[in-house]
Amino acid sequence: MTFALETAAHPENLKRIVIEPVTRVEGHGKVTLLMDEDNRVHQARFHIVEFRGFEKFVQGRPFWEVPVLVQRLCGICPVSHNLAACKAMDMIIGATVPVAADKLRRLMHMGQILQSHALHFFHLSAPDLLFGFDAAVGKRNIAGIVAAYPDIARQGVGLRRYGQEVIRLTSGKRVHGTGVIPGGMNKNLSLDERDYLLKEIDQIIAWSQAAVELIKVIYSERPDFHNSFGFYRSSFMSLVREDGALDLYHGGLRARDEHGQTIFDHVDYTHYWDYIHEEVKSWSYMKFPFIRARGREQGWYRVGPLARINNCDFIPTRLAEAERKIFKEFGGGSATQATLAYHWARMIEMLHAAETIQELLHDPDLQSDDLVSSGERQLRGVGVIEAPRGTLIHHYRINEDEQIVRANLIVSTTHNNQAMNEAVRQVALQYLDGQQLTEGLLNHIEVAIRAFDPCLSCATHAIGKMPLEVELMDAAGALIQRLIKDSDGQCRA
């Protein structure tokens, strides 16, 4: 069922369409479509075009250096990698992280969630959502938002900046901070720093609420369209707290199938490989993880905001919990499997992050000096967090000399690999099949991918964005037509 369209039966007579790279996602990826004379879709794939072996790069390095080193893995998600690696190193030094340090790390993580979700929603996705997927391409970007909706654009910038300030004050620096160290933190939050952050938090919560309202309005204006765009059912995986609450920093792994039935629950993530395997496919550098119990065909799943909001039993902050209930009840639960519902779930999480920041800022533990601990040295460490884009796994082995000998990373975007491919295929069938291709139609494919907020930079360990190029080729591979979209969204032939 799920792998229809992954591989065409007779590729030799088909024309190939390449969307490369997909724009307004972080990093560099491409989509290829194989279509016949009548523009019927026979194959649709979303793949990663470059790969740098970070796992090799860290070999031989001292373990305490890794949390800082991994921030170079991805220019978009340095904080997530920093935290996941440090959790692995906590395990290696046998530390029980002091309560205050745990809270400071959570504060940093919430800053990251806030800034990342704000960036994605306001900069990368709002142009599609507010103007339409096939609106004039010159308008469909952040500049278009600034012109048409200046207030929304300003709030987006404000939310993002606030998140970055939280990161700066907890990590010591705007980027590549060193606040988090194995066993805890090297600094607390001073009263001045706290007061500085407290000043704006009410505004940040209000803007986050407004963002949830905005996506709700957009979504419910055309509920059928939003529910059915790139629709399919799947399993979901995420961390949950011991009591089932949403917890983005720590917890056990929970997976539920497409009917909401539990596959596994409260799994100790340090044994993740007993539950998840990764498959390699010849046509993509990105691996395809699957839940072992369900096998290669049925075992794929989604991670990220939609998975987390669906999987948790409740959200432990008041406003976000109320929004979660509204979301779950919407259309009798019809949004819970929808590709575009990722945006909605993401904004609920952003609100949760803002509320959590407020709660943490009022906690006197943040001024504690009891910040590090250590215990008995282990040779293996696993750290897992719920990064903005989904479950992030860092796994290391060290030798007796304390050097990294093996590293395995499963990033959020890799967990979502099959799911993004599935979304591409659904959209290709729904909107492109039998049609004369236009830029607007091809953008539908990108909209589906963008819903996941993939970080191809993480997945490929290659940083940077490039313009989009769409090529139509005939069966013999000859170029029929080429369309180039510059990074500013302008198209030329």
Binding site: P62, T178, I181, P182, E402
Partner: protein, 246 residues
Amino acid sequence: MGALVMSKAITIDGKSVSFIDGQTIMDAALAAGVYIPHLCHNPEFEPHGNCKLCIVSVNGRNMTACTMPAAEDMVVASNTPELDSDRQALVQMLFVEGNHICPACEASGNCQLQAAAYYLKMLSPHFMHFYPPREVDASHPDIFLDLNRCILCELCVRASREVDGKNVFGISGRGIGTHLVVNAASGRLGDTNFAVTDRAAQVCPTGAILIKRQGYKIPIGQRTFDHKKISEVQMEPVKRTEPEHE
């Protein structure tokens, strides 16, 4: 105070600096509070003249201040745009000859090479990176040796020989192949009697000799060069950092 003692003097950048016999230009400058950029010089040890950062113009000829004895009436120029641009090029070469990834390095903020680069307003490495393959040696229980960051200043060599009386380190090879070696049959630090309390464990100006498990414990903002320039720090009386024990 009367001018009773006939003291000898040199001029550095137009300022009269007195010296006593046997002092180098660097010694006299340091004593008088005049900063001349330097990396391989540390007043505790015999000068070596390796890094050439201390080049000054003496009566019109370029010399290394750390090795050149001061002599009556020398006219020394140090703080000139030409010399600073030579110094910047030297630092840039040090960067490309090794593998220095400042944002990830635990010595960042405490590193003299990095501080010298800031002081000399270096904005980019300018030259092509060599990306040389360099060894790391983690065999010692308390010390991590990362030759990616070694600038061959020989301070550890001198400290181990002159202060610790151990001779743990040496220099081998020539030209671009010059490298630091560990004096053990195996070549491994773990097979020497090197100790974390040795002076040689404290003198590395970069992050090549590191005390294990201490990385990043000092928050950004409290590191040596976070608020002070290298010119200020190196003019302070020598301060010995005692290693932390777990």
